[in-house]
């Protein structure tokens, strides 16, 4: 059309094209991946009745009375999650100073620390448990170590980034005052990083309550192990009760950490 008004795009034409192409490439990729797993969304609908039968007849009603040792196992799992987070955060607290560019005394040491961090972080606690169970056998200490190792890797990175964000301006001022290394950490870096520390610590508690259950199922002890035993012996009513109890505890912990977050972080 001759009298068509000129259309002025708001973003650069070339960039728009790239985004469009990227979108379709992603769409194709995800469709192909879904096709490859041969997952048919209609299976769930078609075999709904089997699923509901299992839930209503095998799992319900939950039989909490027969779940022997549930609460002591639950305490073990909770303890495992809290202890792992606590130990990991203490270690990460110290090593993060050596790893962050703002506070690292030696650049080569900071590279090594970061490498150790990403190695421990990128192997999931579940895999650590498998390795440790093979080495030491079943037990809570295996679960504890596995969780600690993974959490350490995660928190190390989170704490390093928290320190990186403290920024050099206030540190520069303390340098100009003649403060030494540890004085700068105590008087400037730590006070500025505390909200970050607390928030990541609470996040890891939430995550570890869930993972400690799963780690337990593969031999890490605690409520996960108990649940696995009941499932393997087909006592689904008891297993159902345990699952509900776990869900309740997880929700309780989330509520508590959220409350703490609001109280502590102003």
């Amino acid at each position: 059309m001759a009298d068509k008004q000129k259309h002025l795009p708001l973003v650069d034409g070339g960039e728009k094209k790239m985004v469009t192409i990227a979108f379709f490439v992603m769409l194709a990729l995800f469709t192909a991946a879904t096709a490859y797993t041969q997952f048919n969304p209609f299976t769930i609908l078609k075999e709904q009745s089997t699923f509901w039968n299992f839930i209503t007849q095998d799992f319900l009603p939950p039989d909490i009375a027969k779940a022997k040792g549930l609460w002591s196992a639950m305490l073990q799992t909770l303890g495992m999650a809290l202890a792992a987070t606590f130990i990991a955060s203490c270690l990460a607290f110290v090593f993060a100073f050596l790893g962050s560019g703002t506070t690292a005394p030696y650049p080569w040491l900071s590279k090594i620390i970061r490498a150790v961090g990403s190695f421990t972080r990128n192997i999931p606690a579940l895999v650590w448990s498998f390795i440790l169970v093979m080495a030491f056998g079943i037990g809570t200490s295996v679960g504890l170590i596995a969780l600690t190792v993974e959490t350490f890797g995660f928190l190390l990175r989170a704490f390093i980034e928290t320190i990186d964000e403290v920024g050099s301006e206030s540190l520069e001022a303390l340098n100009a005052c003649g403060a030494d290394y540890f004085q700068k950490l105590a008087q400037c870096v730590i006070p500025a990083a505390i909200p970050g520390y607390i928030s990541w610590f609470l996040y890891c508690i939430e995550v570890n309550i869930r993972s400690s259950t799963i780690v337990g199922m593969v031999g890490g002890g605690g409520v996960g192990l108990v649940l696995m035993i009941y499932i393997k012996s087909f006592k689904y009513h008891v297993a159902g009760a345990i699952i509900l109890a776990i869900a309740a505890v997880v929700i309780l912990v989330d509520l508590t950490t959220n409350w703490l977050r609001k109280r502590v972080l102003v």
Binding site: A173, C177, G178, A179, D180, Q187
Partner: protein, 262 residues
């Protein structure tokens, strides 16, 4: 005793090719109030930061209270720095700490590592901090978090922190560049009066030529890393100002004041 600071042939290059500071020499007498002016990127901040070694000089010497501090490290460097106060354009406070905690940082250079970590400041130093906070009008803010203050108040905290160091030299890098005209006057008056009262030498980087002329006993002009003027404000003629900023007077005027915003 009469020459607390001598800068000799100071040169700084951040990379091959260009010199941020090019063979600058000057002296500062006890109690002098020196303003450094010059266009943006001339090297004013670099000169100031070389003096307390926040930036490593490439060449030349810094003599502070008779000692060559151009190459000292560790304890000796910290000992020199604690006698040189510094005030920053962006205040550089630890914003999660209180006003009182921030001003006490000025004492860290005089304390053992442990005492500094554990906040074991001397009671007499705390008394002194209170007196200074009172003087700058911030006594009732002593337990406020630094983040809750206005820009002018933050800079007053910065001044008190620097003075807590009992410095013989005060370096101010554009102390009023982020402030409105009223706060600017308050801050400049405070810096001027307090350094005069305690006979502290003071070097201030300024963007506003009229402020430099109003307060300084001596003005240093920097252009492209070189010292092109060093003399009393009365000798800083309009021709000289045009030379330093490499532009005509009309371009430097805002509301009838020479502001030379860079």
């Amino acid at each position: 005793m009469s020459k607390p600071l001598i800068v000799e042939h100071l040169t700084k290059s951040y990379g091959p090719g260009s010199l941020a500071v090019d063979d600058v020499s000057f002296e500062v007498k006890q109690g002098e109030f020196v303003a450094i002016i010059g266009p943006s990127g001339a090297g004013k901040s670099t000169i100031l930061r070389c003096i307390n070694r926040m930036v490593e000089p490439s060449d030349g010497r810094i003599l502070f209270e008779g000692n060559d501090i151009s190459h000292v490290q560790g304890k000796k460097l910290r000992d020199a720095r604690r006698r040189i106060g510094m005030i920053f354009q962006h205040y550089n406070l630890v914003y999660r700490l209180t006003v009182m905690q921030n001003v006490m940082h000025g004492r860290l250079g005089y304390m053992s590592t442990m005492d500094g970590i554990l906040n074991r400041y001397k009671e007499e130093d705390k008394e002194k901090a209170l007196k200074l906070l009172n003087k700058v009008g911030l006594l009732e803010y002593m337990y406020k978090r630094a983040s809750e203050l206005s820009g002018g108040q933050k800079q007053r905290v910065g001044i008190v922190r620097a003075l807590m160091q009992e410095p013989s030299l005060l370096l101010c890098d554009e102390p009023i560049a982020s402030l409105d005209p009223n706060s600017s006057k308050v801050i400049m008056d405070l810096i001027y009066e307090l350094t005069k009262e305690w006979n502290i030498s003071c070097i201030v980087n300024l963007h506003q030529v009229h402020v430099a002329k109003e307060y300084a006993t001596r003005i240093i002009g920097i252009r492209q890393g070189k010292l092109v003027f060093d003399g009393p404000p009365s000798e800083l003629t309009n021709v000289m100002i045009e030379e330093i900023y490499n532009t005509s007077m009309e371009n430097l005027m805002i509301n009838g004041e020479v502001r030379a915003v860079g």
